[in-house]
Structure formats: C-alpha cells, structure tokens
C-alpha cells in the first residue's frame, strides 16, 4: 500500500521548472555558477558589439550589384566580387569558353561527393575517377574534338588551385607509400636515402622548395629544355606532400601486427605480394583520417604559389585589387576567397571526423 502511494507521488511531482526545458538548459549551460554568469555576460556583450556592426557592414549598408558606386556607401562593397568573379575564379582562361572549366569543376565536385560514401568504394569508382580526370583534362586543355586549345599558362584561379592540390595528392600518395616502405626497409642504403629525403623535406618550409622550383630547377635542365612554371611548382608540391604522406603511411605500417608479416611469410608470399595483398590494404585503411588532414594542408598550401607569381585564387584576387577602381576593398575580396577555402576545408575536415568515427569501431 505504502509502495503504491510512493509510486503515485513520483508520478505527480514534476521536476522544478528551473531545471528542465529551455530555462533549465540556459541555467545549466550558461549561468551554472557566478563565474560562468560573468563569462557569459562578457561574451554576449563582445559578440553584440562586434557581430552587429559587422552584419550591418556586410549585409545592410553593402552594395552588391556590379555597377554600384561603392565609395559612397559606408558598407561592404561586394560589387568587387560581382564585377570580377570571372577573373578571380578562373584567371585568364578565355572568358567565352568558361563552360569548360565550370563543367570540369562540377564533375570533380560530384565525384568527390559520391566518394564520400565508403559503400561506393569499388573498382568502378576508381575507373570513373580515371576517366573523369582524363575528360577534365581534355575539357581544360582543349585541342582535340573541336575544342579550342587553351595554353596551360592561362589556367588560373580556382582551376589552378584544384589542379595543384588534386594532382599534388594523387601523385604524392604513391610516392609517399614507396618512401614509407623504403624507410621501413631492412636495406641500409635504401633506408638511409628515404630517411634523408623525408627529414630534409619535412625540415624546410614549402616556400624554399617553391623557390627551388622557380629559380634552381631551370639550372638542372640541359640547354634548350624548359618546363613551364606551373609544372615545376606542381613537382615541388608533390615532393613536399610526399614526405608528409610517407610519415602518415609509416604510422599505419608501424601499427601493423607482426603476426601479419609472419603469416604472409609462412604462406610463401614474397615482399611485393606481402605488401600489396596483406600489409598495405590494412595499413592504408588505418591512415585514411590523417591522410585527409594531409589533403587539407596540401589544399591550403597551394596558396603559397602566389609567392612565385603563379595565378592561383589568391593571386587573381590581388590582381583585381591592384586595379585603381577596386583599390581599398581588400577586406571584401579576401573574405570572399576565405569563404571558398573555408567551405572546402570544412567539408574535408568534417569528412575526416566522420571517417574516424566509422573506422574506430572496426579493429
């Protein structure tokens, strides 16, 4: 009987209104102690006094149309973007055939979106990547199928940024794997070469390699041979990224159980079979999340080619800013390309976190 009464009481008594719902959440998360209350008030006031003027500048007082007169309005001048977006995004690519790079980028982005889902990872996807990359190359370069040829020197803006990062990583990955295997190898000469290379590259800033590609590399070539600047920068980025990939892959190799090597030996596989069939498939799976981090930094690092004068996204923006008409609107232009970089990197890092969670449950 008494038990019953107790149960009834439990049903009847609701938690106090101050500990559930919106009020409870606010109390628990924002005003849980005097110290927290003070912090919350300080942060809210800082946000209030910085975000509001910013929104006012960026959205309300701003001018958006290409022909707006920016100098008179007090707000942001997004006209710099709307009048120059072709130059900023595509550099000096001929403006009447912009559908070609746009198609190529759409293809790349949709492939990336499909590849996000690990269920689709199979041979077919691999082949479609290969074919699409070739189609993208044809679209950008032209010269066959009646497409007007476009010199590589004229590729600029986001095309160059994507070219440098996508090819940079696809070429750097196999090279990095070879370097990592070399570093783990038992042959002292090969091991020394690989360690020397990896530590040398990781010890110097990318800019020194880019300097090397722009001023030293031409000296390496025999007389009369020259390689264009974009390709040279691409080689520098590949060499740089490969060293970082190698360290990431080495982490995966070291994480391998010794039993895996012994089992492979005992069924009579040779070195290459062991690596290709047993070790690498497992090791590479472990290192997918850190590889995405390497991809993110490679993507961000392509912006450094501006220092050796290539027209990537950053350089085309600066070219626009150097026109007298648009001088003084750096904030708007930089915020715009920062947004592009942010969106790309944000999706990649989100993906890396998602993968980490998925793969965590595996072994």
């Amino acid at each position: 009987m008494e038990l019953n009464a107790n149960n009834e009481n439990e049903v009847l008594v609701k938690p106090p209104i101050s500990s559930v719902g919106v009020i409870g959440w606010i109390k628990g998360n924002l005003f849980s102690s005097p110290f927290n209350t003070i912090l919350t008030i300080i942060i809210v006031s800082i946000l209030w006094f910085s975000i509001l003027p910013f929104l006012n500048w960026a959205l309300i007082d701003s001018s958006w149309l290409p022909d707006a007169n920016c100098r008179e309005s007090g707000g942001a001048c997004w006209s710099i973007i709307s009048s120059n977006y072709k130059i900023i995004l595509f550099g000096f690519y001929p403006q009447d055939i912009l559908w070609r790079p746009i198609t190529a980028i759409v293809m790349l982005v949709s492939l990336l979106c499909i590849s996000r889902n690990r269920n689709y990872w199979n041979a077919f996807l691999g082949y479609s990547w290969l074919i699409s990359l070739i189609i993208m190359g044809i679209l950008l370069k032209g010269g066959i199928l009646g497409l007007e040829p476009v010199d590589i020197e004229r590729w600029g803006g986001i095309i160059l940024t994507l070219l440098l990062s996508v090819f940079g990583l696809t070429a750097a990955y196999p090279l990095g794997i070879i370097l990592a295997l070399g570093r783990q190898s038992e042959m002292p000469v090969i091991k020394t070469f690989c360690i020397f290379y990896i530590e040398l590259i990781r010890g110097v800033p990318l800019i020194s390699l880019l300097f090397m590609s722009s001023v030293v590399f031409p000296l390496f070539l025999p007389e009369g041979v020259s390689i264009n600047a974009i390709l040279r920068a691409q080689v520098a980025i590949i060499m740089f990224t490969a060293a970082y990939v190698a360290e990431v892959v080495r982490g995966g190799l070291q994480g391998m159980n010794k039993g895996q090597f012994e089992a492979a030996d005992s069924i009579g596989l040779n070195y290459f079979q062991t690596m290709r069939l047993i070790i690498l498939p497992q090791a590479l799976k472990i290192v997918i999340p850190p590889s995405v981090s390497v991809l993110i930094s490679a993507f961000k690092d392509t912006s450094l080619v501006v220092i050796i004068g290539l027209y990537d996204l950053l350089k085309t923006t600066q070219t626009t800013l150097s026109e007298p008409k648009w001088m003084g609107f750096s904030a708007e232009a930089y915020i715009f390309i920062a947004l592009i970089y942010f969106v790309c990197c944000f999706f990649m890092s989100n993906y890396s976190r998602k993968l980490e969670k998925e793969l965590d449950t595996g072994l």
């Binding site: 927290n36 000469v189 300097f211 025999p222 007389e223 950053l314």
Partner: protein
C-alpha cells in the same frame, strides 16, 4: 646438425633467390641510380652556370649587399656585406618566431581550456574559432591582416588611440616605453639571477622534502624573488619614471616604440592561425588525463594546487609537449611567408640576395640549412624529452 642443414640449403639457393645477395644488388642499383641522377643534374647545372656566367660558391657573402632592410635588430646599412644582411634576416626570423611562440602558447592554452568549458557559449565560441582559423590558409590570413593595417586603419593624423600612449594607424602600432636608463639593464640581470636562484631553490627543496618530508613554499618564494629582485634594483637605481611617449610630428610619430605593420600583420596572422592548432593539442592533452586521477588525488587529500601540479600537469604535458613542439616548428617554418608581405625575415633577405647575385643554388641552400638547423635541434630536444618522460614500466 643444424649447421649442416643450413649449409646445404644455402648451397642449393641460386644467386638470384638469395634474399641477402638480392638486397645487396638492389642497394647497389639504387645507389647507382642516385649517383647517375646527381651526376646528370650537377653536370647540367655546371654547364648552365658557365654559360650564364654565374659565379659559384659562397664568396658573395663578403660582397657589399647594396640594399636597405626595413627593420633590423642590429646595426645595418646598405654598405654592409651580404653576410651581415643575412644575419639581420636570421635575427628577424628568430624574433618573430620567439614572440609568436610565446603568444601562441598563451592564446592556444586559453582557447583549448575554453573549448572544454561547461559554459555552452564559451565552448561554442572556442570551437568556432578553431574551425574558422584552421580552415583558412595562413597566407590569406597574413594578406588580410596586412591589408587591415594598410587600408583599414587611418593615417597617423587620425590615429586610433584606445588609451593614452598607444596609437594604432597605418604606420603600425606605436606605444610609449620607459625612457632608456642604465637601471633597466640591471633589472634584466636581476631577473636572470632570480630565475637561477629559483631553479636551485626548487632542487634543494625537493631534496630536503625527499630526506625529511618537510615541504618548502617554493612557489611563493620564487614569485617574491622574481618580482622582488628587479623591483629592488629599480629602487636602488634611483627609481626612474620618465617615459618616452610617442608624439605626432609632421606625418609620423616621434618617440615611443613602433611595431611596423609588416611585423604586426605577420605576428597576428601566425599567432591566430597556430593558436587554433595549439588549442586542439591542449584540449586533447587535458582530456587524456582520466577523471579517476582527479578523484584519486582528491581522495588522498591533495589540495587543488597540488592536484594540478603533481597529478594533472605531469600527465597532460606528456601528451601535449610533442605535438606542441611540432606546432612551434610549424610557426617558425610559416614565418617564412613574411616574404609575401615584405617583412625582412631570412627567406626574404635571401630572396633579395638571389635576385641580385643570381646565385640561386647557394641562396636556396642557405635557406634550407637555416630551417634544417631549427628542425633538427627541435627533434633532438624531442628525443631527449621523450626519453626523459617515457613511462617507466614496473
């Protein structure tokens, strides 16, 4: 018996199937390939240098540099030699890295702790900061801050002055400093002495505690020493209070200390970018110490200060220090981006030297050597630290 079998089997293995011999063959092949490529490149380079009549060797270091450098920690003029110009650049790199690392560690720790705050707003602000600054290329951030100083700040005449003695304008950040006086040199020496005494005191106190069990208030004594000694020397030196306050004269400020827009933009960009990574490192380090450790320490009656010093920090730092050092190294390497905004760091000065002399190989080599020295000494420190800190399994 075993030996016999081994001998027999090695006889039956043909040359190409013996892993040892094959590995020697591979290695000789790799070395030959390397030697061939090196020879090819070097012979091409030699021919090219001769044809373009570019000098080789480091003789250019002794020639007159003939270019001005905007900022310098040591005396420098265009009449000085390249070697001196390069050391100016080297010191500038050191300066920006050193200040940058100090500020980054402070800001990064702050944000990392904020990221773990129970206050939802602070937590989310820290998370937003980390995501935002990690995902924008550092070079773009540098350009932004550079434009901020040159375009968005007013001219010296309309300089912003949040409080007396501090001015913010497109000539940089200008603030008042104490007028030069010999006593400040003595104060610096006093601080050094205080640090050394504190270090010895800590050692002695630990030894005494190990022997007798008596604790010594090292923390308060050292605070008193480090603050007290310089203050005492300031008082003895005559307590000078004269300040050098910047005053607007013509188009620029006179007096005070000026931080150039280039330096300020570089520092701001590097610190804000790297702090986002350091914050993640700090957060991971703190989370790595399990809650049971705190509870156990409280159960045996440690005070909050002891809890932090004896239990939490030693364990968290073991996780934090290695990635933190690599972030510091990253900051130092990223400081080479100074060349893009015109701050005369080592890479920038070496770049000018390359342009003037045409000796690209030597110039790039110097850049690489300088940064290799930084990173090799850092990794030497890391190896030493890891050995010292490695958990001794019992």
């Amino acid at each position: 018996m075993n030996k016999v079998i081994n001998n027999k089997s090695s006889e039956t293995i043909s040359f190409w199937y013996d892993p040892d011999k094959r590995s020697i063959f591979y290695q000789i092949g790799a070395a030959c390939l390397f030697a061939f490529v090196a020879w090819y490149l070097i012979s091409n380079t030699m021919a090219n240098l001769e044809r373009q009549s570019i000098a080789t060797g480091f003789g250019f270091l002794n020639k007159e540099a003939a270019f001005e450098i905007g900022e310098s920690l040591i005396e420098y003029s265009a009449a000085d030699r390249y070697a001196r110009a390069l050391s100016v650049g080297f010191l500038n790199t050191l300066l920006v890295s050193f200040i940058g690392i100090l500020l980054t560690v402070v800001l990064g720790t702050f944000i990392g702790v904020a990221r773990l705050s129970k206050n939802w707003l602070i937590n989310k602000c820290a998370a937003g900061y980390i995501e935002l600054f990690q995902d924008i290329p550092v070079l773009l951030q540098l350009f932004f801050w550079y434009a901020f100083f040159y375009e968005m700040l007013p001219s010296p005449r309309e300089a912003l002055s949040p409080f007396t003695g501090l001015f913010l304008c497109n000539r940089g950040l200008i603030f008042g400093i104490p007028q030069a006086h010999p006593v400040y040199k003595y104060m610096l020496i006093a601080i050094l002495i205080a640090v050394i005494v504190t270090f010895l005191l800590k050692k002695w106190a630990k030894k005494r505690q190990d022997l007798t069990g008596k604790a010594f208030p090292v923390f308060y004594t050292s605070i008193a020493l480090i603050l007290g000694l310089p203050f005492a020397s300031w008082l003895i030196g005559g307590a000078p209070t004269e300040m050098s306050i910047p005053v607007l004269k013509g188009f620029n400020f006179k007096g005070g200390l000026t931080i150039s827009p280039e330096f300020a933009a570089l520092l701001l960009g590097l610190v804000l970018y790297t702090a986002a990574f350091v914050a993640e490192v700090v957060r991971a380090g703190i989370q790595a110490v399990s809650k049971g450790q705190t509870e156990a320490a409280m159960a045996i009656g440690l005070k909050p200060g002891q809890l932090l010093n004896l239990i939490i920090l030693p364990q968290a730092l073991r996780v934090i220090i290695p990635p933190l050092t690599s972030q510091m190294l990253n900051l130092t390497k990223n400081s080479s981006l100074a060349v893009a905004i015109g701050y005369p760091d080592f890479v920038s000065v070496a770049g000018t030297a390359i342009n003037q002399t045409g000796q690209a190989i030597e110039g790039v080599m110097l850049i690489m050597i300088v940064y290799l020295i930084f990173s090799l000494s850092t990794s030497a420190f890391m190896n030493w630290y890891n050995k010292k800190m490695a958990i001794v399994e019992r």
